[in-house]
Amino acid sequence: MGNKSLSAKLSQAVLIAVLFAVSVVMIIPILHVVASSFSSQAALIQSKFLLFPTDFSLDAYKYVFSTSTFMDGMKISLLITVAGTALKMLVTLMLAYALAHKDMPGRKIINYAVLITLVFSAGMIPNFITFTSYGLKNSLWALILPALIDPFNLIVIRSFIQEIPAEIEESAKIDGANDARILFSIIVPLSMATIATFSLFYAVVIWNSYFDAILYINEAKKFPVQVLLRQIILLSGSLGDSSGMGLDFYVPPRTVRMAVITAATAPILVVYPFLQKYFAKGVMLGSVKG
């Protein structure tokens, strides 16, 4: 379209301006919180609307990193995110690989069983009673096992494995390799992009999860970072649903609150460039196959 009339140029300018405004609205809350966390308490009180660090100060972070409660929470979240992602990916991949084989007797039943869980679940209370009877109360496993496989991810990964030409597997079989070897030495290397995508999916979900922790974890020293964040920001502000969950926080200074939010968000912001690249693809894959 070579014809660049005045009205076309004008409409492009309006479009760019509107999209700019939308982007600003999206980014300002994050910018404000991050900038405030790197400012001094005095600067924050003086000039309210901070979008860039003013009177740069790391005091808030020095305080946050010196409190063992919050750092323990970060460590626990990191631990369950890394270990949980690895475990979830492994189990999902193994089941997806098996279900990708059309000649495996029983495959249909398992497929239906998986699909049903997409539209029906036992619900909060039966889950709670059952998982508590498994001994998950106050165990970090409670933050990993109840959502070990995401049925949706499983279905998409299965479809992906089915796309890999069957001949590759056939030739490995002729060479005497069993299914486990084929999966780990042939299928996995071929699916690294998919595995990366869904590992990120899983990792973000685990890092962001907090409700399972509220249900199953009563010991404060086992709280993941999201639960601590809720305690520090929401409950200390005399809001929220359950005051006095065993921790008595004083209302921390504003810069500290900003620093706590920033620290809990940082891992997401660090992996975001990768997330954005792969996730859109993953979502598209899902919506096409789903």
């Binding site: 479009l15 760019i16 999209l19 700019f20 939308v22 999206m26 994050i30 919180v33 309210k48 609307f49 189990v91 193994m94 089941l95 098996a98 084989h101 029983g106 398992i110 069983a113 539209v119 029906f120 036992a122 619900g123 909060m124 209370i125 039966p126 709670f128 009673i129 059952t130 109840p146 089915q162 796309e163 299914d179 999966l183 973000v204 962001n208 907090y210 964040l229 809720r230 920001i233 929401l234 502000g237 809001l239 929220g240 649903d241 359950s242 504003r254 609150r257 900003m258 706590v260 939010i261 809990a264 968000t265 997401i268 975001y272 997330l275 954005q276 859109a280 979502v283 598209m284 919506s287």
Partner: protein
């Protein structure tokens, strides 16, 4: 799709030992696959299906000391109790109104944003806007609720400082029931508008550019092209997304609401899941009663999804199941 079919057909013509022979032989030939599937299958059995037995306590007066087998069976009493309690209408009203807010204020926005992104000529600018607007999707509700708390609080929050500077008043966004639904819907708009464009952008990328060229030659202006080419192209997607939303209308974002509800706004904020949590686990341990409430929600939700799927298929889209 047809390529894989062709491949399958080809594969089935080749000699395939597992296909021949008895079922037992086929199972034996696949023993490694069963071994690989085992942990995943165990997960579904133990964590997705075993709890479904627990639904039976909805028909009991469950007593943890007597256990599942020893507790008294009371038929549908838990359900009738719930239906006749004022909580029932309250929960339904709150859920319904939130869904309506969502439908009117959030649902159109990703479509509008996708249309705008699709019309931007500069590819780089489009990428930048996408990068920025997708980001909130990855932040947890705890983080979003926390950001809201520090920005909207009457004690030094930036929003209230601005309002105070302009009008000399402060608004209690976080505690006044009047603002609750607006805050919830606003959070959804902030978090999901950008991310929601993906599906519409995909539909838009399927439009044949020649159609636009042809319309251009015929002298159609921008609005005419929007009405007669672009909108019809994504109409099916819009309808599917709409039906999908109706099918899940009981599933208000539990985590999100749980974080924003407090004793002051509970009247308008309480939805099914927060009610189940509070009555069942947090405050009263009414396990049987709340299981009944949860079961009611699950069953209605299931029926809604199936209805939505039927409607979607009747309206000509591929359906959602």
């Amino acid at each position: 799709m047809s390529q894989t079919r062709a491949k399958e057909r080809l594969a089935s013509m080749l000699p395939q030992p597992p296909r021949i022979g008895s079922l037992w032989k086929r199972i034996a030939a696949n023993k490694w696959l069963y071994l690989l599937a085992l942990p995943g299958v165990l997960y579904f059995v133990l964590f997705r299906y075993t709890p479904m037995w627990g639904l039976l306590i909805a028909f009991q007066k469950y007593n943890a000391a007597l256990g599942f087998l020893g507790s008294e069976w009371i038929g549908l009493k838990n359900f009738t109790d719930f239906f006749s309690s004022p909580d029932f209408t309250n929960l339904f009203r709150n859920t319904f109104i939130l869904a309506i807010y969502n439908l009117f204020f959030f649902f159109p926005l990703p479509i509008v944003l996708a249309l705008m992104l699709n019309s931007v000529r500069s590819y780089r600018y489009k990428r930048i806007v996408q990068t920025v607007t997708y980001m909130p999707h990855f932040l947890s509700w705890v983080i979003i609720a926390s950001i809201c708390q520090v920005m909207f609080t009457t004690e030094g929050g930036i929003i209230n400082d601005i309002i105070f500077a302009l009008s000399g008043k402060k608004l209690d966004f976080l505690t006044n029931p009047r603002f609750f639904r607006g805050m919830i819907t606003g959070q959804v708009i902030w978090r999901e508008t950008g991310w929601g464009t993906i599906i519409f952008l995909a539909a838009l990328s399927g439009v044949d550019p020649q159609l636009y060229d042809a319309a251009h030659v015929d002298g159609a202006n921008g609005w005419q092209r929007l009405w007669s080419i672009t909108l019809p192209a994504i109409f099916g997607t819009i309808i599917t997304m709409l039906i999908l939303r109706l099918g899940h209308f009981l599933d208000t974002g539990f985590s999100q609401i749980f974080l924003m509800v407090n004793p002051l706004n509970r009247d308008v904020g309480e939805v099914f899941d927060t009610y189940i949590y509070r009555q069942g686990i947090k405050e009263y341990s009414k396990l049987s009663y709340t299981t009944a409430v949860g079961m009611f929600k699950s069953v209605v939700g299931l029926a809604l999804v199936f209805c939505a799927d039927r409607i979607a298929k009747k309206s000509g889209s591929s359906g959602i199941l």
